[in-house]
């Protein structure tokens, strides 16, 4: 019986030996091997297809979550007359500032389809030199209420094959001088869309052509767009552009420190008169067509892990600060005067200050 017991123990050890041995762990690199055997391999699935990647090498990091602060230095704003009832008025704004919060989360992430959904909140507070003396309704609402934007957006990237892709961007924004949580009617929401067809000929270049319905020039427009990203394979330079919305030259000191120089066209259409009567009927549905070109230098740097700091300094150049009458929020386009020459309710004049923006960003893998 003693031998049987011994046999049982030996048998158990024999059974468990490979398992026990397998507990050994190492993370050190193995000895060099002949890697040439991996040169010619086939996909195990015959039908496997490769698709163009959404990114190219060396792009500035995409942001999952961003928390920023924007500050414009002082400038003068001349609010135009409205008929004969409201006289023009020039006032000095000491500063314009506000927070900018954004999030952009991938909800579908496959080789053959990428869908990101995001949201943002922007706030603009106008700090007037002497708010108590203001008479013009534009100055009053800007001083008392400021402007804000709540928005939702989505980006859909659909590669068609190894080199070609379709890119679609959708946006819905609620812009106005409203208070939170009262907001304003959804019928004043402003919708934008861009659709592009493009090519990614290499890991260092991608480009696309398309058309967009956009409010970046303040009022509704339809414009052709050109998407172009490039990274030099032999130097630290690159280009990131979606013209005419933005264009930057990029210089990467290293993968954790990037300097960019260029511009962004930034704008939207803001409903006025949410918190108090702005203009009396029939001009009680008006929107501020705000658009500005930001010529800027932007420095981004990794702080720790996936947290990056970004700072930009530039010159804010006014493109539009006019006011339009839009009864019941039913928008229209002038298409740069081609389809309409409808007059503005106000054609305001605004100065061009320096500005800076700082943000903390959680960047995407």
């Amino acid at each position: 019986m003693k031998y049987v017991l011994k046999f049982a123990l030996v048998a158990m050890l024999a059974f468990y030996a490979p398992v026990l041995y397998a507990q050994e762990d190492t993370t050190t690199a193995e000895d060099e091997e002949d890697y040439s055997i991996y040169d010619d391999l086939d996909f195990a699935d015959d039908g496997t297809q490769s698709f163009a990647n959404a990114k190219i090498s060396g792009l500035s990091p995409a942001r999952f979550i961003s928390l920023g602060y924007d500050y414009q230095a002082g400038y003068d704003l001349t609010a135009a007359n409205v008929g004969e009832g409201i006289a023009p008025e020039t006032a000095t704004i000491n500063s314009t500032s506000g927070i900018r919060v954004g999030a952009n989360i991938p909800v579908v992430s496959r080789n053959d389809l990428l869908i990101q959904v995001g949201g943002q909140y922007w706030n603009l507070n106008y700090n007037y030199n002497d708010a108590s003396t203001l008479n013009h309704p534009l100055h009053k609402t800007l001083a008392n209420n400021g402007l804000r934007t709540w928005g939702l957006n989505s980006t859909i990237y659909k590669p068609l094959n190894e080199t070609h892709f379709i890119l679609v961007q959708l946006g819905a924004d609620m812009n106005g001088d409203y208070a939170v949580p009262e907001f304003q009617s959804m019928r004043y929401n402003r919708y934008s869309i861009a659709a592009l067809y493009g090519k990614r000929p290499s890991d260092y270049k991608q480009w696309a052509l398309g058309i967009s319905r956009t409010y970046r020039a303040g009022e509704l427009n339809y414009v052709p767009i050109f998407y172009y990203n490039y990274t030099s394979p032999v130097s630290k330079w690159g280009i990131e552009a979606l013209l005419p919305a933005r264009g930057h030259v990029r210089y990467s000191f290293n993968k954790r420190s990037i300097l960019m120089a260029g511009f962004e066209l930034e704008g939207n259409s803001y409903r006025l008169g949410n918190q108090s009567t702005f203009l009396s009927e029939p001009l009680d549905d008006v929107e501020l067509r705000r658009s500005e070109i930001r010529a800027r230098m932007m420095y981004q740097r990794q702080l720790v892990g996936f947290v990056w700091f970004a700072a930009e300094l530039g010159y804010r150049i006014n493109y539009s600060y006019n006011v339009d009458d839009i009864p019941e929020g039913k928008d229209f386009t002038r298409l740069f005067g081609i389809v309409s020459d409808a007059p503005y309710v106000m054609e305001n004049t605004i100065g061009n200050p320096v500005y800076f923006n700082i943000s903390l960003n959680l960047v995407s893998p």
Partner: protein, 159 residues
């Protein structure tokens, strides 16, 4: 007699336990092999070391750094002492354990393009396809890449 029963029980328990472990091992070992990420710039060989799974770069589409004209090294690694380590042979998947049906987790993935290491979970959607999700803290804040299994041409022909 009691001893005989004890012995029989020991052997039976050993056999049953081992057969379960073996079955789990076989399932877990399906991760082993050579895989290609969606960008097609590399091939990754996943092996088992000890009880965990590791993946190293065994092929690069562009093995030579166009800037230095030398074989690519891990130049973006935050640890300066590792920046001269060759990328070919570099272990970018580490410490994966078979934790759930068709799922390997508790591991990390390293991106040599930016020198960042992410938490990572691997899901096998079919025998030849992996969903590799790198994430930051929570899985929602991540990105999934689909890897496809590669095999030797001779193996395919012989099938």
């Amino acid at each position: 007699m009691n001893r005989a029963i004890l012995v029989a029980l020991l052997v039976a328990v050993s056999t049953i336990t081992y057969s379960f472990l073996g079955s789990d091992d076989a399932k877990a070992d399906r991760l082993k092999g050579i895989w290609q990420p969606s960008h097609g710039k590399a091939k990754i060989k996943i092996d088992k070391i000890g009880s965990k799974y590791y993946g190293k770069i065994v092929w690069l589409k562009e093995p030579i750094d166009p800037e230095t004209k030398a074989p690519k090294v891990d130049k973006n690694n935050p640890d300066e002492s590792l920046r001269s380590t060759p990328l070919k042979g570099y272990r970018i998947l580490k410490d994966f354990e078979y934790t759930d049906e068709d799922e390997w987790s508790n591991g990390t993935i390293y991106d040599p393009e930016n020198g960042s290491t992410y938490s990572c979970v691997i899901k096998m959607t079919d025998e030849n396809t992996l969903d590799i999700r790198g994430y930051i803290g929570i899985k929602t804040l991540g990105r999934t890449d689909v890897w496809k299994r590669l095999e030797m041409p001779s193996k395919k022909k012989s099938e």
